[in-house]
Symmetry: C2
Subunit: 338 residues, 2 copies
DNA sequence: CTGAAAGCGCTAACAG
DNA sequence: CTGTTAGCGCTTTCAG
């Protein structure tokens, strides 16, 4: 593997000059630079980023920390789309991305902070981490620049990107109300999720603004899981037959509710309207296609990476990015819509 | 950031001793080691992997090189599942993974080899790369250990993992034949794909063994794209009304054929049976659910990572892994199967 | 069992 | 415009 030393020797100059020439410094004779670049090419030189990182004390690498990158989690490809977005921006600005997954028991032994420190990543993006994750606080309090996805923590070194979940939920519920629904149930995620809290708030606001009562007993937690949501939906529909529609805090859970409806012989949307959240790919392929609140997950990843790198380079205006959502009306709420 | 130097000072020993103690060498007094480890913990020490990588000349990092990690490609989450599998194994053996994507124009300027060399990855896994990719040959001929997914190249430093595509295709077609189909069309991928070639072979073998004729004109290329497949299916069905079933080289293309059937008013599976390949998540959610040949994509990633790291550590028995596929019979070929 | 010293490949003052 | 020198944090001979 060629080094700048080899190039220096071949060009008859010092390694300093080679370094400067290759890094585009101005104070190098154009002739020398040409020559050096030529030789570098001939020798098939690749800079050693480890060495560079060591001396510069930064690696031009960011870490993407995700949880639940498992065989099962591929159904809801939220993580993947975010990753694709991160990757896109990162490669545009010539950074690299290393993926830290916290699924394996092996890695669990190391905290996020350790993971980041050891690899000397310049910063990290955290996605799919629970608010009550024991290591979250540690990394946030460390000096590692972080951007969180859907967790609203802000500090000198921490920012976040999220969508307007209150408004998103509100739009969904208003859509149901506008269709004449008065007994709307909600399947939420779990307690320790910021988005669940926000979406519940939006649910309540929409009801309130329409002059409808909020009934605690019409809200259940489905843990963002299809099966759990199905069970809860069956329970709710059995105990409260007045329910005519469901607002679900994720599409995956909406799929569960659709199964429940099928089990109970309820036609969608005539007897039961269902709206989800996320707009996962499956949503437009179910029968009937699922109405939902679309989040641009790719954009979330892209913006998170952008924000992080702006923070790293000291040119971030603010440390918060809130993206918009979009109501997608399909046939699970309106017959023959498409 | 604490270094071994700090620990050495605090412990009153040399940095050499610290290094040895922390790396579990045997020739260190147990008391000294205990003390050093204790101090390291107190000082919140994290080893600098850049420095270590520089001197050891290996980074314990592998590169995952994928193409087409775009906003659009998330529908077919093949890439994602492979990535999840790679990540799983990699984290089990305490390696890290850096993701190189070749979508952006920025990165395109660098060859795969350069990407790998600069980051000093110990080896690379390549997925979704076309056989005719100009940079593929370069990286394969370099000294960088590589594992390819679905590209059969083998050398001292190159291995691959794939599934038995001939057999997989054969199973699909035999299934159609067993249902009584005699006029079977095929929507293949594209010319420069190893898997397409193999699946075509399986298609032909199944026909041959059943004593059925192979008609070139019943095979079309859909470029692994839903829309292209749809167009080709419409064309085939129009030109050759005798067709009663389709074997598609990917599920995504099978979705396209399903659309074509709908357009032409053909009922599935009564008037047109369709079988795909891959078993993507969507396959079980379409109406009717799609019969297909399932590939365990997670396992492909996992095995690729395993093979690569075995190769790196000099304990790979062979450099080829062929995984099995499984026929999943759903309602796009057999009425009321589920 | 422990330490001194060299060096991995690179950048960054500081002198010329 | 160019070279000398001194490290970045770590591992690894080679001597004790």
């Amino acid at each position: 593997m060629t080094t700048i030393k080899d190039i220096a020797k071949a060009a008859g100059v010092s390694i300093t000059t080679v370094s400067r020439a290759l890094n585009g410094y101005s104070d190098v004779n154009e002739k020398t630079r040409k020559k050096i670049i030529e030789i570098a090419k001939q020798l098939n030189y690749s800079p050693n980023t480890l060495a560079r990182g060591l001396v510069m004390n930064k690696s031009k690498t960011i870490g993407l920390l995700v949880s639940g990158l498992t065989r099962e989690s591929t159904k809801d490809n939220f993580t993947f789309e975010v990753l694709a977005g991160v990757n896109q921006y990162v490669s545009e600005v010539d950074y690299d991305m290393v993926l830290f997954s916290t699924t394996s028991t092996k890695q669990r032994e190391k905290t996020y902070t350790q993971l980041c420190r050891e690899r000397r990543v310049d910063g990290a993006i955290l996605q799919g981490i629970r608010v009550d994750d024991p290591y979250l606080q540690e990394v946030v309090e460390s000096d590692i620049p972080c951007v969180l996805i859907d967790i609203p923590i802000e500090s000198e070194t921490v920012g976040y990107v999220t969508t307007d979940n209150v408004l998103g939920a509100k739009k969904a519920v208003q859509h149901l109300i506008s269709l004449g629904h008065r007994h709307i149930a909600m399947i939420n995620g779990y307690e320790f999720a910021f988005v669940s809290e926000q979406r519940l708030k939006g649910f309540q606001e929409a009801l309130f603004e329409a002059g409808l009562p909020f009934h605690e007993h019409l809200v259940a937690n489905g843990a963002f899981k299809e099966e759990r949501a199905e069970q809860e939906a069956v329970r709710l529909l059995t105990q409260h037959p007045e329910i005519t529609s469901f607002f679900c805090a994720s599409d995956l859970m909406a799929l569960g509710v659709m199964k429940a409806a099928k089990t109970l012989g309820k036609r969608i949307p005539e007897e039961l309207a269902i709206i989800g959240y996320d707009d996962i790919i499956l949503a437009s392929y179910t029968t009937p296609p699922l109405s939902t609140i679309a989040q641009n997950k790719f954009a979330m990843g892209y913006e998170a990476a952008k924000l992080l790198i702006e923070m790293l380079e000291g040119k971030a205006q603010s440390r918060v990015r809130v993206l918009e959502t979009e109501l997608k009306i399909r046939e699970s709420t309106v017959k023959n819509h498409g």
